[in-house]
Protein backbone atom coordinates (compact mmCIF):
# COMPACT_ATOMS: atom_id res chain seq x y z
CA UNK A 1 0.00 0.00 0.00
CA UNK A 2 1.15 3.48 -0.82
CA UNK A 3 2.28 6.07 1.71
CA UNK A 4 -0.25 8.36 3.38
CA UNK A 5 -0.84 11.90 2.18
CA UNK A 6 -2.66 15.04 3.16
CA UNK A 7 -6.03 13.44 2.37
CA UNK A 8 -5.33 10.80 4.95
CA UNK A 9 -4.38 13.37 7.56
CA UNK A 10 -7.52 15.38 6.94
CA UNK A 11 -9.64 12.26 7.01
CA UNK A 12 -7.98 11.22 10.26
CA UNK A 13 -8.78 14.52 11.87
CA UNK A 14 -12.37 14.57 10.67
CA UNK A 15 -12.87 11.02 11.89
CA UNK A 16 -11.38 11.99 15.25
CA UNK A 17 -13.80 14.88 15.47
CA UNK A 18 -16.69 12.56 14.66
CA UNK A 19 -15.74 9.84 17.12
CA UNK A 20 -15.09 12.33 19.91
CA UNK A 21 -18.47 13.95 19.27
CA UNK A 22 -20.09 10.54 19.32
CA UNK A 23 -18.41 9.57 22.59
CA UNK A 24 -18.55 12.97 24.25
CA UNK A 25 -20.92 11.93 27.01
CA UNK A 26 -19.04 8.71 27.64
CA UNK A 27 -15.71 10.54 27.96
CA UNK A 28 -17.15 13.13 30.32
CA UNK A 29 -18.70 10.31 32.30
CA UNK A 30 -15.31 8.66 32.70
CA UNK A 31 -13.91 12.02 33.77
CA UNK A 32 -16.77 12.53 36.21
CA UNK A 33 -15.76 9.37 38.03
CA UNK A 34 -12.12 10.31 38.54
CA UNK A 35 -11.82 13.95 37.49
CA UNK A 36 -13.93 17.01 36.89
CA UNK A 37 -16.29 15.59 34.30
CA UNK A 38 -15.36 17.76 31.35
CA UNK A 39 -13.10 15.65 29.18
CA UNK A 40 -15.73 14.92 26.51
CA UNK A 41 -16.84 18.56 26.33
CA UNK A 42 -13.23 19.73 26.29
CA UNK A 43 -12.14 17.55 23.39
CA UNK A 44 -15.38 18.01 21.50
CA UNK A 45 -14.98 21.77 21.74
CA UNK A 46 -11.43 21.39 20.50
CA UNK A 47 -12.15 19.06 17.59
CA UNK A 48 -15.18 21.06 16.48
CA UNK A 49 -12.89 24.06 16.26
CA UNK A 50 -10.39 21.98 14.30
CA UNK A 51 -13.08 20.83 11.88
CA UNK A 52 -14.25 24.41 11.40
CA UNK A 53 -10.70 25.52 10.63
CA UNK A 54 -10.28 22.68 8.14
CA UNK A 55 -13.35 23.93 6.30
CA UNK A 56 -11.53 27.19 5.62
CA UNK A 57 -7.86 26.25 5.44
CA UNK A 58 -6.15 24.13 2.80
CA UNK A 59 -3.14 22.62 4.50
CA UNK A 60 -0.91 21.07 1.88
CA UNK A 61 1.00 18.41 3.82
CA UNK A 62 0.14 15.97 6.60
CA UNK A 63 2.45 18.00 8.82
CA UNK A 64 0.48 21.17 8.10
CA UNK A 65 -2.75 19.39 8.99
CA UNK A 66 -1.34 18.21 12.28
CA UNK A 67 0.06 21.65 13.08
CA UNK A 68 -3.41 23.12 12.60
CA UNK A 69 -4.82 20.47 14.93
CA UNK A 70 -2.13 21.24 17.50
CA UNK A 71 -2.57 24.99 17.67
CA UNK A 72 -6.35 24.71 17.65
CA UNK A 73 -6.50 22.14 20.44
CA UNK A 74 -4.07 24.18 22.53
CA UNK A 75 -6.25 27.27 22.13
CA UNK A 76 -9.66 25.76 22.59
CA UNK A 77 -9.70 22.65 24.79
CA UNK A 78 -9.43 24.42 28.16
CA UNK A 79 -8.29 21.36 30.13
CA UNK A 80 -5.10 19.39 30.60
CA UNK A 81 -5.75 17.40 27.45
CA UNK A 82 -5.40 20.63 25.41
CA UNK A 83 -1.73 21.31 26.01
CA UNK A 84 -0.99 17.57 26.17
CA UNK A 85 -2.59 16.54 22.87
CA UNK A 86 -1.65 19.88 21.38
CA UNK A 87 1.99 19.19 22.10
CA UNK A 88 1.55 15.65 20.77
CA UNK A 89 0.19 16.86 17.43
CA UNK A 90 2.79 19.62 17.29
CA UNK A 91 5.67 17.19 17.74
CA UNK A 92 4.00 14.83 15.30
CA UNK A 93 3.78 17.66 12.80
CA UNK A 94 7.45 18.45 13.29
CA UNK A 95 8.36 14.80 12.74
CA UNK A 96 6.28 14.77 9.55
CA UNK A 97 8.04 17.91 8.39
CA UNK A 98 7.30 19.03 4.84
CA UNK A 99 6.83 15.52 3.49
CA UNK A 100 3.87 15.17 1.15
CA UNK A 101 3.49 11.49 1.86
CA UNK A 102 4.37 9.43 4.91
CA UNK A 103 5.51 5.84 4.59
CA UNK A 104 5.30 3.30 7.40
CA UNK A 105 8.57 4.42 8.99
CA UNK A 106 7.50 8.06 8.87
CA UNK A 107 4.19 7.17 10.51
CA UNK A 108 6.03 5.40 13.31
CA UNK A 109 8.29 8.42 13.71
CA UNK A 110 5.22 10.67 13.82
CA UNK A 111 3.57 8.57 16.53
CA UNK A 112 6.75 8.34 18.57
CA UNK A 113 7.23 12.09 18.38
CA UNK A 114 3.63 12.63 19.46
CA UNK A 115 4.05 10.32 22.44
CA UNK A 116 7.28 12.05 23.37
CA UNK A 117 5.43 15.34 23.21
CA UNK A 118 2.90 14.15 25.76
CA UNK A 119 5.74 13.00 28.01
CA UNK A 120 7.63 16.25 27.57
CA UNK A 121 4.56 18.24 28.56
CA UNK A 122 3.04 16.08 31.27
CA UNK A 123 6.00 14.10 32.65
CA UNK A 124 3.86 11.02 33.12
CA UNK A 125 5.28 7.53 32.89
CA UNK A 126 3.58 4.40 31.65
CA UNK A 127 1.36 3.06 34.41
CA UNK A 128 0.50 6.52 35.78
CA UNK A 129 -3.07 6.10 34.44
CA UNK A 130 -2.89 8.82 31.83
CA UNK A 131 -3.15 9.09 28.08
CA UNK A 132 0.45 7.88 27.95
CA UNK A 133 -0.94 4.44 28.71
CA UNK A 134 -2.58 4.56 25.28
CA UNK A 135 0.18 6.37 23.37
CA UNK A 136 3.14 4.38 24.60
CA UNK A 137 1.89 0.86 23.74
CA UNK A 138 0.62 2.31 20.45
CA UNK A 139 4.09 3.49 19.52
CA UNK A 140 5.66 0.20 20.53
CA UNK A 141 3.11 -1.82 18.56
CA UNK A 142 3.57 0.45 15.56
CA UNK A 143 7.31 -0.10 15.71
CA UNK A 144 6.70 -3.84 15.93
CA UNK A 145 4.46 -3.76 12.87
CA UNK A 146 7.06 -1.74 10.99
CA UNK A 147 9.80 -4.18 11.98
CA UNK A 148 7.58 -7.01 10.74
CA UNK A 149 7.39 -5.32 7.35
CA UNK A 150 3.97 -3.75 7.71
CA UNK A 151 2.90 -0.78 5.60
CA UNK A 152 1.59 2.51 6.98
CA UNK A 153 -1.91 1.15 7.30
CA UNK A 154 -0.71 -1.93 9.18
CA UNK A 155 1.39 0.23 11.45
CA UNK A 156 -1.62 2.39 12.31
CA UNK A 157 -3.95 -0.50 12.93
CA UNK A 158 -1.39 -2.08 15.26
CA UNK A 159 -1.12 1.27 17.05
CA UNK A 160 -4.89 1.60 17.37
CA UNK A 161 -5.32 -1.87 18.74
CA UNK A 162 -2.54 -1.41 21.29
CA UNK A 163 -3.98 1.95 22.32
CA UNK A 164 -7.36 0.35 22.93
CA UNK A 165 -5.81 -2.38 25.06
CA UNK A 166 -3.69 0.22 26.81
CA UNK A 167 -6.75 2.30 27.64
CA UNK A 168 -8.52 -0.76 29.04
CA UNK A 169 -5.44 -1.56 31.07
CA UNK A 170 -5.77 1.74 32.93
CA UNK A 171 -8.88 0.44 34.71
CA UNK A 172 -7.08 -1.19 37.66
CA UNK A 173 -4.46 1.52 38.06
CA UNK A 174 -4.02 4.21 40.71
CA UNK A 175 -3.40 7.59 39.05
CA UNK A 176 -0.13 9.38 39.67
CA UNK A 177 -0.67 12.39 37.39
CA UNK A 178 -3.57 14.69 36.63
CA UNK A 179 -6.70 15.26 38.66
CA UNK A 180 -7.36 11.57 39.17
CA UNK A 181 -4.23 11.43 41.34
CA UNK A 182 -6.25 13.23 44.04
CA UNK A 183 -8.38 10.12 44.37
CA UNK A 184 -5.73 7.62 45.44
CA UNK A 185 -7.08 4.08 45.57
CA UNK A 186 -10.54 5.29 44.62
CA UNK A 187 -9.45 5.70 41.01
CA UNK A 188 -9.13 1.92 40.77
CA UNK A 189 -11.82 0.37 38.59
CA UNK A 190 -12.24 3.43 36.39
CA UNK A 191 -10.80 3.99 32.95
CA UNK A 192 -8.66 7.03 32.30
CA UNK A 193 -10.64 9.33 30.03
CA UNK A 194 -7.58 10.69 28.23
CA UNK A 195 -6.33 7.19 27.44
CA UNK A 196 -9.74 6.31 26.04
CA UNK A 197 -9.98 9.41 23.87
CA UNK A 198 -6.43 8.85 22.64
CA UNK A 199 -7.40 5.34 21.60
CA UNK A 200 -10.34 6.79 19.66
CA UNK A 201 -8.05 9.20 17.85
CA UNK A 202 -5.58 6.46 16.96
CA UNK A 203 -8.38 4.21 15.71
CA UNK A 204 -9.53 7.13 13.57
CA UNK A 205 -6.04 7.36 12.09
CA UNK A 206 -6.07 3.66 11.29
CA UNK A 207 -9.55 3.71 9.76
CA UNK A 208 -8.59 6.68 7.62
CA UNK A 209 -5.61 4.69 6.32
CA UNK A 210 -7.67 1.64 5.39
CA UNK A 211 -8.53 0.86 1.80
Amino acid sequence: MEALGTDWAIDWVRRSAAVIAEHKAELSGLDRAIGDGDHGENLDRGFRAVAAKLDDATPETPGAVLKLVATTLISTVGGASGPLLGTAYLKGAQAAGDAERLDAAAVVALLAAARDGVVLRGKAEPGDKTMIDAWDPAVRAAQGALDAGGDASAVLSAAAEAAESGAEATDPLVARKGRASYLGERAVGHRDPGAQSSAYQLRAAATAAEG
Binding site: D38, I74, S75, G78, A80, G82, P83, G178, R179
Partner: protein, 128 residues
Amino acid sequence: MPVGLVFVSHSARIAEGVVELAAQMAPTVPLVAAGGTDDGGIGTSYDRVLAAIGEADRGGGVLLIGDLGSAILTAETAVDLLDEEPAGGVRVLDVPIVEGGVAAAVAAESGADLDAVARAAGGDAPEP
Protein backbone atom coordinates in the same frame (compact mmCIF):
# COMPACT_ATOMS: atom_id res chain seq x y z
CA MET B 1 11.58 47.21 35.70
CA PRO B 2 9.88 44.94 38.22
CA VAL B 3 9.26 41.29 37.49
CA GLY B 4 5.72 40.83 36.19
CA LEU B 5 3.45 38.11 37.56
CA VAL B 6 0.78 36.13 35.76
CA PHE B 7 -1.69 34.09 37.79
CA VAL B 8 -3.01 31.15 35.79
CA SER B 9 -6.03 29.60 37.44
CA HIS B 10 -8.92 27.41 36.37
CA SER B 11 -11.18 30.02 37.91
CA ALA B 12 -11.28 33.62 36.71
CA ARG B 13 -12.32 34.60 40.22
CA ILE B 14 -9.31 32.99 41.82
CA ALA B 15 -6.91 34.66 39.40
CA GLU B 16 -8.55 38.06 39.90
CA GLY B 17 -8.71 37.57 43.65
CA VAL B 18 -5.00 36.82 43.85
CA VAL B 19 -4.33 39.97 41.87
CA GLU B 20 -6.40 42.12 44.25
CA LEU B 21 -4.84 40.51 47.31
CA ALA B 22 -1.26 40.75 46.07
CA ALA B 23 -1.77 44.30 44.83
CA GLN B 24 -2.24 45.47 48.41
CA MET B 25 1.33 44.57 49.25
CA ALA B 26 2.77 45.13 45.80
CA PRO B 27 1.08 48.17 44.30
CA THR B 28 3.68 48.82 41.60
CA VAL B 29 4.17 45.26 40.33
CA PRO B 30 2.43 44.23 37.10
CA LEU B 31 -0.01 41.57 38.34
CA VAL B 32 -2.12 39.96 35.65
CA ALA B 33 -4.97 37.47 36.00
CA ALA B 34 -5.32 34.69 33.44
CA GLY B 35 -8.14 32.58 34.81
CA GLY B 36 -10.97 30.60 33.30
CA THR B 37 -11.66 29.55 29.75
CA ASP B 38 -12.29 31.91 26.85
CA ASP B 39 -16.02 31.65 27.38
CA GLY B 40 -15.77 32.31 31.10
CA GLY B 41 -16.03 28.68 32.20
CA ILE B 42 -13.78 26.76 34.54
CA GLY B 43 -10.56 25.74 32.87
CA THR B 44 -7.55 27.47 31.43
CA SER B 45 -7.10 29.53 28.31
CA TYR B 46 -3.93 29.53 26.29
CA ASP B 47 -4.90 32.79 24.66
CA ARG B 48 -5.52 34.49 27.99
CA VAL B 49 -2.18 33.28 29.26
CA LEU B 50 -0.43 34.52 26.14
CA ALA B 51 -2.05 37.94 26.41
CA ALA B 52 -1.25 38.09 30.12
CA ILE B 53 2.43 37.42 29.50
CA GLY B 54 2.53 40.38 27.14
CA GLU B 55 0.75 42.56 29.64
CA ALA B 56 3.00 41.58 32.56
CA ASP B 57 6.23 42.09 30.63
CA ARG B 58 7.86 45.37 31.60
CA GLY B 59 11.39 44.26 30.92
CA GLY B 60 12.15 42.62 34.25
CA GLY B 61 10.97 39.18 33.24
CA VAL B 62 7.69 37.36 33.78
CA LEU B 63 6.81 34.68 36.31
CA LEU B 64 3.72 32.52 35.79
CA ILE B 65 2.10 30.79 38.76
CA GLY B 66 -0.57 28.20 38.11
CA ASP B 67 -2.98 26.41 40.41
CA LEU B 68 -3.77 22.81 39.43
CA GLY B 69 -1.92 20.63 36.93
CA SER B 70 -3.54 21.78 33.73
CA ALA B 71 -2.93 25.44 34.54
CA ILE B 72 0.76 24.64 34.74
CA LEU B 73 0.57 22.65 31.50
CA THR B 74 -1.15 25.52 29.72
CA ALA B 75 1.32 28.04 31.10
CA GLU B 76 4.30 25.93 30.06
CA THR B 77 2.86 25.42 26.61
CA ALA B 78 2.32 29.14 26.20
CA VAL B 79 5.88 29.84 27.29
CA ASP B 80 7.30 27.19 24.95
CA LEU B 81 5.40 28.59 22.00
CA LEU B 82 6.13 32.28 22.58
CA ASP B 83 7.16 34.05 19.40
CA GLU B 84 9.52 36.15 21.40
CA GLU B 85 10.65 35.52 24.94
CA PRO B 86 10.43 38.47 27.34
CA ALA B 87 13.81 40.21 27.53
CA GLY B 88 14.04 39.60 31.26
CA GLY B 89 13.21 35.91 30.92
CA VAL B 90 10.13 33.90 31.72
CA ARG B 91 9.44 31.02 34.11
CA VAL B 92 6.49 28.89 35.16
CA LEU B 93 6.24 27.98 38.82
CA ASP B 94 4.27 25.22 40.49
CA VAL B 95 3.69 26.73 43.94
CA PRO B 96 0.50 27.48 45.89
CA ILE B 97 -1.11 30.18 43.80
CA VAL B 98 -2.41 32.40 46.61
CA GLU B 99 0.31 32.02 49.22
CA GLY B 100 3.17 31.75 46.73
CA GLY B 101 1.66 34.49 44.62
CA VAL B 102 1.57 37.00 47.46
CA ALA B 103 5.13 36.14 48.47
CA ALA B 104 6.29 36.55 44.87
CA ALA B 105 4.52 39.88 44.57
CA VAL B 106 6.15 41.23 47.72
CA ALA B 107 9.57 40.17 46.45
CA ALA B 108 8.91 41.72 43.04
CA GLU B 109 7.80 44.94 44.73
CA SER B 110 11.19 45.15 46.41
CA GLY B 111 12.92 44.97 43.04
CA ALA B 112 14.12 41.38 43.27
CA ASP B 113 15.09 39.75 39.99
CA LEU B 114 13.25 36.85 38.37
CA ASP B 115 15.16 34.10 40.16
CA ALA B 116 14.85 35.80 43.54
CA VAL B 117 11.13 36.33 43.03
CA ALA B 118 10.75 32.66 42.13
CA ARG B 119 12.66 31.67 45.25
CA ALA B 120 10.50 33.95 47.40
CA ALA B 121 7.43 32.25 45.95
CA GLY B 122 8.77 28.92 47.12
CA GLY B 123 10.02 27.70 43.78
CA ASP B 124 13.18 25.70 43.36
CA ALA B 125 16.29 27.40 42.17
CA PRO B 126 16.22 27.49 38.39
CA GLU B 127 18.18 24.96 36.42
CA PRO B 128 21.67 26.30 35.97
